[in-house]
């Protein structure tokens, strides 16, 4: 499925490093990721694993001291890393848009919701004010904002969290982008609102044919909305598979840990399974497999050599020595 020309986004061997005073942190390390047309692709991992930096790298909005050091990012076959800053601005907000985790702080408090959505359209579409206004109100209606004309004139502090996230989605969708990056869009919301927002995104994705890159740490969100999933750990992809395959035939111990961390109704004994330990510092990564210090199946060689991505089934790859030969695992 890695044929770049029929996809929306193709990231190849992307590395984004942060050049800090204490050393170089490889927040994104040799990541290869593909988003087919009209699909929802999840990027999953704990906080600090590099998923947000991957997203910001796509938009080339990584702020200093971070910098993309190698790899390629192409949108519909065009190399984004070769674009000039002006060309890149034309792409942001019109062909790739992004929504963020905190709807409370992601809107500018001193402008009305309508104005902020209109702005995206006016800088890209070259539309007049009247038309931009009409289309914004229309978009507000499409994202399920009640009384869109009144909400157009509302300031962010006058809207609830769910409504603000709908405004963000309206802003992201108003220019009909081919890719929308959603960085933990529902993390700050109530569970009931979360379900509504996910439903809305799926609906918009189907209506407008926009692809979505869904960044989350929540396996429930993945199950709800994604077609294909990448699991990231400490800057690297550790497992990738179709969503059903990932849940039915989980191979990587880390993914298993993520799934075990979800409370499940009717699971034997009340105890939640977690992953022991914490995410390693990017400045001081363990040798060999980055997950080995926290892995209950780690052998000695795991901390000596780094595993490659092994294809365990069509479209299902795993970065683990124990998963290369089927779910029982074996030695390299």
């Amino acid at each position: 499925m890695d044929t770049a020309d029929n996809g929306t986004l193709s990231i190849k061997n992307l590395s984004t490093h942060f050049f800090t005073r204490r050393g170089i942190a490889a927040a994104v390390d040799d990541v290869t990721l593909f988003i087919p047309k009209k699909s929802v692709v999840g990027v999953v991992g704990e906080s600090g694993c590099g998923k947000s930096v991957t997203a910001l790298s796509v938009l080339r909005l990584v702020s200093r001291p971070g910098r993309i050091v190698s790899g390629s990012v192409s949108l519909g076959g065009e190399d984004l890393l070769a674009k000039s800053p002006a060309e890149m601005r034309q792409i942001r907000g019109s062909r790739i848009s992004m929504i963020f985790q905190e709807p409370m702080t992601s809107l500018n408090p001193v402008y009305t919701a309508g104005r902020q959505v209109m702005e995206a359209m006016m800088i890209h579409g070259g539309t007049g004010k009247a038309e931009a206004r009409d289309r914004t109100v229309e978009m507000f209606r499409a994202v399920g904002i009640p009384e869109p004309e009144r909400r157009f004139r509302a300031f962010p502090h006058q809207l609830s969290g769910g409504l603000r996230q709908r405004v963000m989605i309206a802003m992201a969708m108003v220019c009909r982008p081919s890719l929308m990056i959603a960085d933990e869009p529902t993390t700050a919301l109530d569970v009931t609102i979360e379900a509504q927002i996910l439903h809305l995104m799926k609906e918009l994705q189907e209506t407008f044919g926009t692809s979505i890159m869904m960044i989350t740490h929540n396996m429930g969100v993945v199950a709800e909305i994604c077609d294909y999933v990448y699991v990231m750990y400490a800057g690297k992809i550790v497992e990738q598979a179709g969503v059903f395959e990932l849940f039915d035939d989980t191979r990587h111990p880390y993914t298993l840990g993520l799934l075990g961390s979800i409370p499940r109704h009717g699971s034997p004994k009340g105890r939640l399974l977690g992953i022991p330990g914490t995410v390693p510092s990017l400045l001081d990564l363990p040798k060999g497999c980055r997950f080995s210090p926290r892995c209950d199946r780690a052998e000695r060689y795991c901390s000596e050599r780094e595993p490659e991505m092994y294809e365990v089934a069509p479209g299902h790859k795993v970065r683990c020595f124990h998963c290369s030969g089927g779910s029982k695992g074996g030695s390299p």
Binding site: L59, L61, R89, Q90, I91, R92, G93, S94, S97, M98, F100, E102, T105, S106, L107, N108, P109, V110, Y111, Q116, E119, A120, I123, H124, F155, H157, M168, M171
Partner: protein, 306 residues
């Protein structure tokens, strides 16, 4: 919005009255008889009595305070002991000079301070940033009298570009405005820089960039409007302070403004004049704060609600 403004105006009234009362008590209840100050110690007691009666000095303090306030409301602050003229006339004569100086100094301060602050924030930790911050630190730290004398020496005495002192045309106001404006510009530049840097870290700035806005638009349209709130407040208070009389600058450059009048009143123990100028200045400072509140409410919708 109208309700907000009304509320602010109404709140200002007791503040002004309170200041007036404290001022009145301080100047009237403290020891020291105005008549003796006026006429010296060796005068006939009968003469003192007649003066006391004429000036209603034997009335209770509260009665005198009410009389004073009702007078002030009619723009009547009494008569200067020393100059034997209406205090209101003296204020009216000196005010135009002070206003001219204030406008010139505020222009210098804003036109230098705000752009310097923006450049320093956008290009922070660069040479430009260091230059502007050093420049503003100098402005804040240099005492007005020293900077003023230095300028007079360089521009008036050595280069002979500008007149040393006086108030006869706009040319005379250039140096005082630069001296005063520089010190205010320093504060404005530093405040603008730190607020803008802080604002640029907000999530909505990332949103604006992700929208595809140019960096200049991100800074001017999205960041600056948020960052300017505290700066506007300081600007308004500075202007109010300048209108209250830049005592030092007016003295050095020989401008007969409000500050000079107040200083002379202190030197002459001219209580009605002192009281009048201080009350007038207080009114201006309160008005400046009120203006700042209203401008901030225009900039930030969250303030309007309450």
């Amino acid at each position: 919005m109208a309700r907000y403004i009304l509320k602010r105006v109404v709140i200002s009234v007791p503040v002004l009255l309170g200041v007036a009362l404290v001022l009145f008590l301080l100047l009237n209840v403290v020891p020291g008889d105005p008549i003796t100050i006026m006429m010296g110690e060796h005068i006939k007691p009968a003469l003192v009595e007649s003066f006391r009666a004429r000036m209603h000095l034997d009335d209770p303090v509260l009665v005198r305070f009410v009389r004073y306030i009702t007078g002030a409301l009619r723009w009547d602050f009494g008569v200067s002991y020393k100059l034997e003229r209406e205090v209101s006339d003296l204020i009216r004569e000196s005010l135009p000079h002070t206003i001219k100086l204030t406008v010139c100094a505020a222009l210098v301060s804003w036109l230098i301070g705000i752009p310097a602050g923006i450049v320093s924030a956008v290009r922070h930790n660069t040479l430009a940033d260091r230059f502007f911050m050093g420049f503003s630190l100098l402005g804040i730290s240099l005492p007005i009298f020293w900077a003023g004398l230095l300028m007079q020496y360089v521009f008036a005495f050595r280069l002979q570009w500008l007149p040393v002192t006086g108030y006869y045309s706009l040319r005379y106001y250039i140096m005082p405005a630069l001296v005063l404006g520089w010190s205010s510009a320093g504060a404005i530049a530093r405040l603008t820089r730190s607020n803008l840097l802080e604002t640029m870290k907000h999530d909505y700035i990332r949103t604006a960039r992700a929208k595809g806005l140019k960096e200049t638009a991100v800074v001017t349209a999205h960041a600056l409007k948020n960052a300017m709130l505290p700066v506007v407040t300081v600007m308004a208070i500075q202007v109010a302070g300048l209108l209250g009389g830049a005592v030092m600058t007016e003295s050095i450059f020989g401008i007969p403004g409000l500050g000079r009048v107040a200083v002379n009143a202190i030197a002459d123990r001219d209580m009605p004049l002192l009281q009048g100028t201080i009350l007038f200045t207080t009114g201006i400072v309160i008005a400046g704060n009120l203006a700042a509140d209203i401008i901030c409410a225009f900039l930030d919708p969250r303030i309007r609600v309450e």
